[in-house]
């Protein structure tokens, strides 16, 4: 028994060493990852200060930072930002929840899949943006129309991946569930859902990116609020500095969304023996 508990401790120790190494690896990752943005920023500054490009087409980074400060303090940048984020989060949650629930149902029942798949496959091929004009007619220019369009865009990748994940559950685990006398609900809760989670997580991360990109377009096409509205208004008024502020902000938020989804995925799938590259 002693040797066994010692082994247990050794595993704990190995875990400690690993985390020290990964901390060192993390700082190196940051350094490597920031090189390219710094080079781009430097070239941008150089191009503006040497006046290689007309400021109307590409204002200097410092001008953009000033514009950011003005928008933040004297205009409603925060409000517009929150409007966009709110639409994305709502659309993402509704779409993802509906997709996982229906995906599991379709995965478990061939009949249900046959029932919905022709309809879903047709709707899927009509882009979210193509739905927007009709939905705006129904729901008006406000947030609900955009939330619905984003839900639709999030729904399909998540639905298809959930379905595929459920179908990919190893037959041996189903047999185990019979031996352990599991009920249908226990089978879903203890085996089907966890087994499908890797596949679901990949699609959620992908769909989160789609949702954030789509909100900008949707706001540009309808309504008078949000980052998408700001970006198209800036173009109309030739406020290139404001346009760039919005672009950089959209890019950074997208980056943060993707990183958080990645961290969540790592946390949820920590049982998996992965290849870290």
């Amino acid at each position: 028994m002693d040797t066994v508990s010692q082994k247990g401790r050794q595993i704990g120790l190995a875990g400690g060493v690993e985390s020290v190494e990964s901390a060192r690896g993390l700082s190196l990752t940051w350094v490597i990852g920031t090189i390219l943005p710094l080079v781009i920023l430097a070239s941008w500054q150089l191009a503006s200060s040497r006046e290689w490009v007309d400021p109307v087409f590409l204002p200097a980074p410092s001008t953009v930072v000033t514009a950011f400060w003005t928008m933040l303090t004297q205009q409603d940048l925060i409000l517009d930002f929150l409007v966009s984020i709110n639409i994305v989060i709502q659309g993402f949650v509704y779409g993802a929840v509906a997709a996982v629930v229906l995906g599991i149902a379709a995965g478990l029942s061939k009949r249900f899949e046959q029932f919905v798949s022709p309809t879903f496959n047709t709707i899927r091929h009509i882009p979210g943006i193509a739905w927007l004009p009709l939905i705006v007619l129904w729901l008006g220019l406000g947030a609900p129309a955009k939330i619905l369009v984003i839900s639709k865009t999030v729904f399909f990748p998540v639905f298809l991946n959930t379905l595929q994940g459920v179908r990919g559950v190893d037959e041996k685990y189903i047999e185990l569930s019979r031996v352990l006398k599991m009920s249908r609900f226990q089978l879903i809760r203890k085996i089907v859902l966890p087994a499908a989670t890797p596949s679901i997580m990949v699609s959620l991360r992908y769909a989160a990116g789609l949702a954030w990109a789509l909100v900008v377009v949707a706001e540009g096409l309808s309504g008078l609020q949000g980052l998408g509205f700001l970006i198209f208004r800036a173009q109309g008024l030739l406020l290139t500095d404001q346009l760039l502020v919005c672009m950089v902000l959209i890019g950074l938020v997208g980056f943060v969304i993707d990183r958080s989804m990645y961290v969540a995925e790592r946390r949820i799938l920590r049982w998996r023996q992965g290849f870290d590259g």
Binding site: M1, G8, L176, K181, S183, W271
Partner: protein, 272 residues
């Protein structure tokens, strides 16, 4: 209950003497357009309480099918399989099972995996915790409760599977080549541990294996099956003095007899 005592009466033996009683068991697989394949033909087998029985035989002799029928995973057979006086209808927590692959769920820790065996058993939360912990200790995995299955070696994972099979306190443990995927050293080690687990638990065990050495070392009786059609060919009683010395002459002699019954070596080789 009435029917039970009737059947038991026919053999003039109470069912308590037979934890498992198989009479005239046949199983066919029919593939359309072909002659139905007789996987098991007219098999009769009893297992007494606390007895350790091994099934050996060439591949395709139906030994795994027989185990799956007893487990209740497969059905659709002719004949009778009685377990503790009742006909088997599907799987039950009174019969534990260990597969060749450990089949621990990768998304649950070792302790949670073993707890699955109690998911539908009638124990209080406190009893469950106690049972899980004592079975982890029984298979020598204390300290690994929170480990993920991928962090365990093949031998450790298989011990976890044995703990899961035992945790609901079945009176019969069915094992389908449980050590088949392990290296020789781990296998010998685990055979020794299985023997002490069997002695500690005092339950009946049925082991399917292709390793004759393993079968003789572990069992009170070795049942040899033959193929085409799958049937029971011979039954060997193994005396405890034979099992005690794994390298002894008696052990080797018996091993050759078993192998011969399996058709693995011919009479002439045996005589030489």
């Amino acid at each position: 209950m009435d029917r039970t005592s009737e059947t038991a009466g026919a053999d003039a033996e109470p069912w308590e003497d037979h934890r498992l009683k198989i009479r005239g068991l046949s199983k066919r697989f029919s593939i359309p357009g072909r002659r139905p394949l007789e996987v098991i033909q007219n098999a009769n087998l009893d297992i007494a309480p606390g007895e350790f029985v091994s099934l050996v035989g060439p591949s395709g002799c139906g030994k795994s099918t027989l185990l799956r029928l007893i487990a209740g995973i497969d059905g659709d057979y002719q004949g009778r399989i009685e377990f503790e006086g009742r006909l088997i209808e599907g799987p039950g927590l009174d019969r534990g099972i260990v597969f060749q692959d450990h089949r621990l769920l990768p998304w649950l820790t070792l302790a949670k995996n073993i707890e699955l065996g109690l998911l539908n058993a009638d124990y209080s939360a406190q009893e469950q915790r106690h049972l899980v912990q004592s079975h982890i200790e029984l298979v020598g995995l204390g300290g690994f409760e929170e480990a993920w299955p991928h962090e365990l070696s093949g031998g450790m994972a298989q011990r976890g599977a044995i703990a899961r099979g035992l945790v609901s306190q079945p009176s019969l443990l069915l094992m389908d080549e449980p050590f088949g995927a392990l290296d020789a050293l781990t296998r010998v080690h685990l055979q020794g541990e299985l023997l002490s687990i069997w002695r500690a638990e005092g339950i009946s065990m049925l082991l399917v294996t292709h390793d004759v050495d393993e079968a003789i070392f572990l069992s009170n009786r070795v049942v040899v099956m033959g193929s085409n059609p799958g049937r029971i060919v011979r039954v060997f009683e193994i005396g405890s003095e034979v099992r005690a010395n794994r390298t002894g002459d008696e052990f080797n002699h018996l091993k050759q007899q078993v192998l011969e019954a399996m058709g693995e070596i011919s009479e002439s080789v045996f005589v030489v």
